[in-house]
Structure formats: C-alpha cells, structure tokens
C-alpha cells in the first residue's frame, strides 16, 4: 500500500512532463507555421513587386517565384514613360525640407511650451494637439484654395508649405523636454546661459535620440505622402514619385512591369532606411503611437 502510494506520483510526474513538452512542441510548431504564413502575407506583395519589376514583358505572366530572365527593361521603360528621376528629386526635396522645418519649428515651439508659462499656454497647447485629430479631408478645400490664391499650384513649394510645422513633432518634443532634468537647465542658467543657448547647447544635444527618431518618422511619412500632392499636381515634372505611380496606373493602362519598376524605385529609399536603421525606424513609429 505504502509503496504503491509513493510510487504513483513518481511514475506520474515524468509522464505529465513528457506530455507537456510534446504538446508545447506541437504548439510551437503550429505557432511558427502561423507566423511564417503571416510573414509571407506581409512580405510577399513587396517581394512580388521586386520580382515583377525585373521580368521582361514576355515573361511577366510567369508564376515562378523568381525572374527566369532578369532584365532592367521595365526600369528603362518606366524612365521613358514618366520623368521619374525628376520626381524622385522632388520627393527628396519635399521630404528633406519638410523634415528640417518640422524639426526646427517643433524644437522652438516645444521649448516654449515646456519651459515658459504664458497666458493661455495650456489652451494653446491643447489647440495644437487637437490639430493632430482634424481629418485632412476636412480642411483640404480651403487649403487648396489658399494655395491657388497664392499662385503656387503645381509647385514643390506648395507641397512643403503646410508641412513646415506639425503637431506631432511639437507634442513629442515638448514631452521629451518636460522629462529633461530641471537641475541641468537651472545649472546652465546659473552659468549665465540664455534661453537660446540652453535650448541649442543643452537640450538639443541631449535629445539627439528623440530628434533622430522623429526625423526618420517625418522623412518616411512625407516620402509616402499622397493626398496633398494629389490635390496640387498638374504636371509630372513638378510632382512627387507617389503621384507618378498613380499617373502610371490610370494613363498607361496595365503596364504592370514598368509600374512595378516605378513602385520599386519609389520604395527603395524607405526600404534601405528601414533595413539599415531598423531599430530606430521601429522606435520612431512606436513613439508616435504611444503618446
């Protein structure tokens, strides 16, 4: 009796352990399978774009997973059809200038909100923060009219103008500055540093990380911007590459090969940034989500 009672748990234990481990092994395999399927779902369209872009017209409708006769035909045809180099330069200018200005205005405004008390400061901050929630479609007509009155339709400058300041940049930077140790700023002030010097020589160098990830975020989202350019564009020469792709789809019918080549060119800069700076890109997107 006693031996039996003692033996039973001893026998039972390895059995349950084995059951759990095979079960969790199956769970892991099933989990990996699901994750791989999901990864394919996420990655495949991008991969297919790349593959299709290297397929010359006569093999475009193949279903093999890699180009059997890779060629750059589609790229030359895309370059012939739309001024894609010019558009890429425009996109680069648009993204780079917007990024620099949003950072500049963001840093100045954030400093004002974080460091100074002035009448209605909370209200102004809320007003700025709420602009982030106004759907673009609500204000597009008046914005469009304003640009039209300024005679700036169809120019890169018009693309940049509404993008020189953004609530998101101001909010993220103000938050970072509020979190900055007060003692350091007070110490600098004791040494006779002006607000201007405190901002540029104390705060900004110390917030490099935040500023860098914000810069990545602004650059990528401006690069991918579609609405506003779509409203303003009249000629391909003065437009951005996203609009080039859109024009390609409507004007040229279904020239899938060159379209995929143009799409690849339009995504390449962002993909390269992502592959090189993956961790920072992910962080910058995350910070913008958790406010």
């Amino acid at each position: 009796m006693t031996t039996d009672a003692l033996a039973r748990p001893a026998l039972a234990r390895p059995a349950t352990l084995r059951r759990i481990s095979t079960q969790s092994g199956l769970n892991t395999a099933a989990g990996h399978l699901l994750m791989v399927l999901l990864s394919i779902f996420c990655l495949f369209p991008v991969y297919w774009m790349l593959v299709s872009s290297f397929r010359p017209a006569n093999t475009l409708f193949e279903t093999s997973l890699w180009p059997t006769q890779p060629s750059l035909d589609n790229y030359t045809r895309a370059i012939d059809a739309i001024p894609i180099a010019r558009m890429l330069v425009n996109t680069l200018v648009f993204s780079a200038v917007s990024t620099v200005f949003q950072l500049l205005t963001g840093i100045l405004a954030a400093f004002a909100f974080a460091r100074w008390r002035f009448p209605l400061d909370k209200l102004v901050y809320t007003a700025v923060a709420l602009t982030w929630l106004v759907p673009f479609q609500v204000v597009m007509i008046p914005n469009y009219l304003l640009i039209a009155q300024m005679g700036l339709l169809d120019s890169v400058l018009a693309l940049i103008l509404p993008n020189i300041a953004a609530a998101l940049a101001i909010m993220l930077l103000a938050q970072a500055m509020r979190g900055f140790p007060r003692e350091v700023i007070e110490a600098a002030r004791m040494d006779g540093a002006s607000n201007w010097r405190i901002l540029w020589e104390v705060l900004v160098p110390n917030l490099r990380g935040t500023i860098a990830s914000l810069a990545i975020l602004i650059f990528i989202s401006t690069w991918n911007e579609y609405f506003w350019p779509l409203l303003l564009s009249r000629t391909a020469e003065n437009s951005v590459v996203q609009i080039g792709i859109q024009m390609f789809m409507t004007a040229e019918g279904n020239q899938w090969g060159p379209l995929m080549a143009a799409s690849t060119l339009a995504s390449l800069p962002v993909l390269v940034i992502y592959i090189v700076l993956q961790r920072q890109v992910v962080q910058s997107f995350m910070k913008s989500g958790i406010r």
């Binding site: 989990g31 990996h32 994750m35 999901l38 990864s39 779902f41 996420c42 990655l43 369209p45 991008v46 297919w48 774009m49 299709s52 475009l60 279903t63 007003a127 602009t131 929630l133 106004v134 759907p135 673009f136 479609q137 609500v138 204000v139 597009m140 007509i141 008046p142 914005n143 009219l145 304003l146 009155q149 103008l161 509404p162 990528i220 690069w223 991918n224 579609y226 609405f227 996203q242 609009i243 792709i245 859109q246 789809m249 279904n254 899938w256 379209l259 995929m260 799409s263 339009a266 995504s267 962002v270 993909l271 992502y274 993956q278 890109v281 992910v282 997107f285 995350m286 989500g289 958790i290």
Partner: protein, 273 residues
C-alpha cells in the same frame, strides 16, 4: 494656420454655392447644402460603409496583432525580432505603392491570386469589381498595412509587463492560458482600448488611398466611405459648398465620437501601478 483657419473657412464656404472658379460668384444658400447632403442616399451609403470599414478593420488592427504580440513574446529573441521586423514592412511602404502592388496581385486575368484560384479549379474572383467583395478587399489591404504597427505597440506594452507578476501567477499554479487571460490581457487592456479608439477614429481614413487608386469608390459606391465622399464632392464635382458642408458634418461627427471615446478611455482604462 493650415488647420484652424481652413476649418473656419470650410464652415463659411459650407453655406455657399460655388464651383471653385475665381471668376464665378459665390452664392449664399444658407442651409441648403446640408439639407441636400442629408437627403442623398449616397451619403447614407458612405456612412454605412464607414461603419463596415471600422468593424472590418478591428480584427486586423487589434485582435490578430494582440495574438501575435502575446505569441512572439515567448519566442527566442532572434525569431521574435525576425517576425516583428517582417510584419512591420508593409507599414513603411507608401500607400500608393501598396495599392499598385495589390492591384497587380489581384488582377482578374493575370494576377497571381486569381492564377492560384484558377489553378485550384475555381472561378476567378473579381476582387475589385464585385460590389460584395470590393469593400472587403480594401479592408484587408488597409489591415495589411496596419497590422505591423499595432503588433509593435502591443508587443512593447506586453514587454513592459512586470515579469514578477507573471512569475507570481505561475507560482499560484496558473497555466499558460490562465496567465494570458488573467494577467496579460487585463494589463494590456488600456493599450488595446487605445488601438480600438485609433481604429474607430482613423481606420476609415487610412483606407482612402486604396479606395482612390483601386476602386474610385465603386463599384456602385460599394467601397465609398465618408472621407472618400468628401473628396468626391470637393474635387470631382467641383462643388465647394457641398464639399465644405460635408467636411463640417464630418468634423462635428468626428469630434463627438472622439470626445465620447476619450471619455470612455478615461473611465475604463485599467492602470498598472
């Protein structure tokens, strides 16, 4: 300057009839624009579709990412990073590019998807031209773009959960599922709520580009949502009054929904001390 002044201007223009040409007169029509819009079946259809978009996006933008975040958390670091990196890729692809690529994949005669469907001996699916299917196609593509972002946010929140809480639950004899149900989910609830609110507020807006590029709101208005309708009013029919009036309706509606949702968040979010 680019938000508030235009907002006021939109309200002013919503009482006028004008075709956007600087030379033609702006005629004051009072509330007529609003009355016409509310009387339009298209408006109600767009509103209903907006609801469908939001409901359809919720699983893709919240549920699946939640499952991924919890599942990948226990994986070895290398796998975790690889999966999350891959799932994030659609997020950085430009919407127009995404639309172009999906259009190619879904092409009724040569697209890979339909070739595969035909390969299995089934009839090709008109993903973008069948009114019943098109809206779901657009929803899935929008979800494809969003999934990585939600996964990331939820993963971060999940990683922030204090491991001692999980350990304590395990000591008390809680199994894997019980830990997820009783510890992780309650602690993640405020992040989940945040994503739900984001999806409700912005979900329909995110699909704009795909509607614009892939279906143009059709077939028969089946994929139009309220944001797209606004665009349509403003820039296809060149009716500033209509466009502005619907913008004001949208803004007020959006404001009310946002206000209610943020109040709900305040009341129901679960705080981890």
């Amino acid at each position: 300057m680019w938000i508030y002044w235009p907002l006021v201007d939109a309200m002013r223009l919503s009482f006028y009839q004008w075709n956007m040409l600087p030379t033609s007169p702006q005629i004051f029509v009072g509330w007529e624009n609003y009355q016409r819009i509310f009387a339009l079946p298209k408006f109600w259809q767009a509103l209903r579709n907006t609801g469908v978009y939001i409901l359809g996006l919720l699983p893709l933008a919240v549920l699946i990412p939640l499952a991924i975040a919890i599942y990948t958390h226990d994986l070895p670091e290398r796998w975790r990073n690889i999966y999350r990196a891959i799932i994030f890729v659609p997020m950085i692809i430009a919407p127009v590019v995404a639309a172009a690529v999906w259009r190619w994949l879904l092409d009724p005669s040569y697209g890979l998807t339909n070739q595969a469907i035909k390969g299995m001996g089934l009839d090709p699916v008109k993903f973008l031209s069948d009114p019943d299917v098109a809206i779901w196609t657009v929803i899935v593509i929008t979800g494809w773009k969003l999934m990585g972002f939600s996964t990331l946010i939820l993963s971060a929140a999940n990683a922030n959960i204090n491991p001692t809480l999980i350990e304590a639950a395990r000591m008390d004899g809680a199994g894997k599922w019980e830990i997820i149900r009783d510890v992780r989910l309650p602690l993640l609830s405020s992040t989940v709520l945040f994503l739900v609110v984001m999806t409700i507020l912005l979900g329909a807006q995110w699909s704009f580009t795909y509607i614009n590029v892939l279906t143009g709101g059709g077939p028969l208005g089946a994929t139009t949502n309220i944001y797209y309708l606004l665009w349509d009013f403003g820039f296809s029919t060149m009716s500033v009054g209509w466009g502005s009036a619907s913008a004001v309706i949208l803004f007020l509606g959006f404001g009310v929904v946002a206000f209610v949702l943020f109040r709900l968040i305040d009341r129901y979010s679960f705080h981890d001390n």
